[in-house]
């Protein structure tokens, strides 16, 4: 997907003015609330008319202020998953799902409703009314409804925002599965850095109605390490859990991690803060922490009053953080060997 945008819009005191061009299939729009993310989404979907500028999707002009082209929403084939699902309350789940599908010309229908129902695990919900669904279920149905209308691009406006903190991340595997399976480009709008990193490759960062950076999710996370008190979040995909003395042993590449939190699912996504990774010069004789990893220092970089240390652990990467004095004491230098020590309880399960 190629999306070229140059837009201006004045809304009361707020002014949106940005220009960008993205080519990724997984684009993120990141920024605090009031930064213009939603304004951008509404203009892309044709729900808000820009004052000036243009929108080109795969070479096709959707809006051009100078030549007065303004494709209506229903003809843009740009789908939207709204923050609060917005399912039609007078229809059941099945009719909601098929609403867009029925309005898509036959030759453009690329998604089979049955296979979508399977991917999103919607089977048990089909006969239900929308009033009885939980937040997560509603969001899954809304996603399915939009995907079935076979758009060229799907805009997701903070789709996880209204959900419970614990449930939030459980939707992500569904999102990933759907977009991988049906190969639909999407733009994911959120103010959560974790969501950006789990869902997107390229990130457009907005502040005060302006694009302030076009970067990758990983670089964004490193950049924000400076201002964040929680440090850098390592997102680790761990596999094949097996119980051991009430704890869980997960595979991470060719090494094991011992965790206090775990589950049945064969693949889990875990969050590990850079603050929770302690570095040792030599292998300690004994420690309460359960995970000791032999690592090579890949990179040492300054982040404010701290130092970020990128580690290579048998081909897998971790980012730790220390203070300047520790760099001297440990003799940290690129290529040097180091022991990373992590407590079993330091991992937080996302999904």
């Amino acid at each position: 997907m190629t999306l070229e945008v140059s837009l201006e819009k004045q809304l009361g005191d707020f002014a949106f003015a940005s220009e960008f061009s993205v080519q990724s299939r997984r684009v993120g729009v990141f920024g605090p609330s009031g930064s213009g993310k939603s304004t951008l989404m509404h203009m892309l979907a044709g729900l808000l008319k820009p004052d000036r500028g243009f929108i080109r999707l795969d070479g096709e002009i959707l809006f051009d202020g100078s030549s007065k082209v303004n494709r209506s929403s229903e003809k843009r084939r740009v789908g939207v998953v709204f923050q609060h699902a917005h399912l039609f309350p007078h229809m059941g789940v099945w009719r909601n799902l098929l609403y867009g599908y029925k309005r898509t010309p036959k030759q453009q229908r690329r998604v089979d409703p049955q296979s979508l129902v399977e991917v999103l695990n919607l089977g048990p919900l089909l006969d239900r009314g929308t009033g009885t669904l939980s937040g997560g279920e509603r969001q899954r149905v809304a996603l399915g409804r939009t995907v079935l209308s076979c758009p060229r691009l799907i805009l997701m406006d903070e789709p996880l925002n209204g959900l419970d903190e614990n449930l939030k991340y459980q939707i992500i595997p569904y999102l990933k599965k759907v977009f991988a399976e049906f190969e639909i480009p999407f733009m994911f709008i959120s103010h959560s850095l974790n969501e950006m990193r789990l869902m997107t490759d390229q990130v457009l960062e907005f502040a005060d109605g302006r694009l302030c950076a076009q970067t990758s999710a990983h670089r964004l996370a490193l950049h924000r390490m400076e201002t964040s008190q929680t440090g850098y979040m390592n997102l680790l995909e761990l596999r094949d859990p097996r119980p051991q003395n009430g704890l869980f042993v997960y595979r991470w590449g060719n090494q094991d991690f011992i965790l206090t939190a775990g589950g049945e699912a064969p693949i889990g996504m875990f969050e590990l803060s850079s603050r929770e990774i302690t570095l040792f010069k030599k292998h300690p004789e004994a420690t309460s922490a359960r995970n000791l990893l032999h690592c090579k220092v890949k990179k040492v970089f300054d982040v404010g009053n701290r130092v970020g240390v990128e580690l290579d652990c048998n081909g897998q990467h971790l980012v730790s953080q220390v203070v300047h004095d520790a760099v001297r004491d440990l003799g940290l230098q690129v290529g040097g060997e180091i022991i990373a020590v992590i407590k079993a309880s330091a991992f937080r399960r996302l999904y």
Binding site: L47, E74, F82, H86, H90, Y99, T146
Partner: protein, 233 residues
């Protein structure tokens, strides 16, 4: 005393039937217009909506006699609309159709207000959702706005039906008070009250009015409850 009231004269029975027929026809014919005007008032970006709203609501605040008289002027044989209709062989005034038109004009604001309030309650984002899912405006109108306004339409129609049953001022001017032809229940009651010894019959017809109004209200409550259940399936 009550038994005596049961014996309504044939013209009384005709008045009851006519009342029901006039109110029913007026309401039924008005619903599509009421829905269309409400849609324009709530959803269209037209300027001058305030003026349209004012015009539609005018009969609510004008004395019905004034409305009836203005209608008579335009629909009468020498009125601008009346002449044109007469050329086509259509005569309105002093027929039951005149009673229908009088009821339509008087009851219309109630219908529109009720439907508009229902439409304003519809979440804009549902309409945006249907647009982004590929529905044209008329498609959205019939598959989202209409079903979600159903309750308001029923409520408005009930209100208008009840108002039409009681319509007096505009009807007597435009349709006259001809027993068996244009005489509805209120007109018949009016006749009885101005006839010596007609009190009993007037009271009888009043009871019929109350009965009809109650039936309509109960029916309306039932329908609205059904819709409410439907929405929270």
């Amino acid at each position: 005393m009550f038994q005596a009231m049961i014996h309504f004269s044939p013209t009384d029975l005709q008045a009851m039937a006519l009342s029901a027929r006039v109110a029913f026809t007026a309401t039924l014919v008005s619903i599509p217009f009421g829905f269309a005007v409400s849609y324009v008032l709530v959803f269209s970006p037209l300027p001058g909506k305030t003026l349209l709203n004012g015009l539609v609501s005018l009969p609510l605040v004008l004395p019905p006699v004034v409305v009836g008289y203005l209608l008579l002027l335009s629909l009468g044989n020498h009125g601008w609309l009346g002449e044109w209709l007469a050329d086509m062989g259509i005569h309105i005034i002093f027929t039951w159709k005149a009673a229908v038109i009088a009821s339509m004009v008087i009851g219309f604001p109630l219908l529109v207000r009720s439907i508009s309030i229902g439409m304003e309650d519809i979440d804009d984002r549902l309409i945006q959702a249907s647009c982004t899912l590929g529905a044209r405006w008329y498609d959205t109108l019939f598959t989202v706005i209409l079903p979600l306004s159903a309750r308001a339409i029923v409520a408005g129609a009930t209100l208008m039906f009840a108002r039409s049953l009681g319509e007096f001022g505009a009807t007597i001017v435009l349709a006259g008070n001809i027993p068996g032809v244009t005489q509805t229940i209120p007109l018949a009651i009016f006749d009885y009250t101005s006839t010596p010894g007609g009190d009993r019959m007037a009271l009888g017809l009043c009871l019929v009015s109350i009965g009809l109004a109650l039936t309509v209200l109960v029916f309306n409550e039932g329908l609205i409850k059904r819709f409410r259940r439907g929405a929270h399936r």
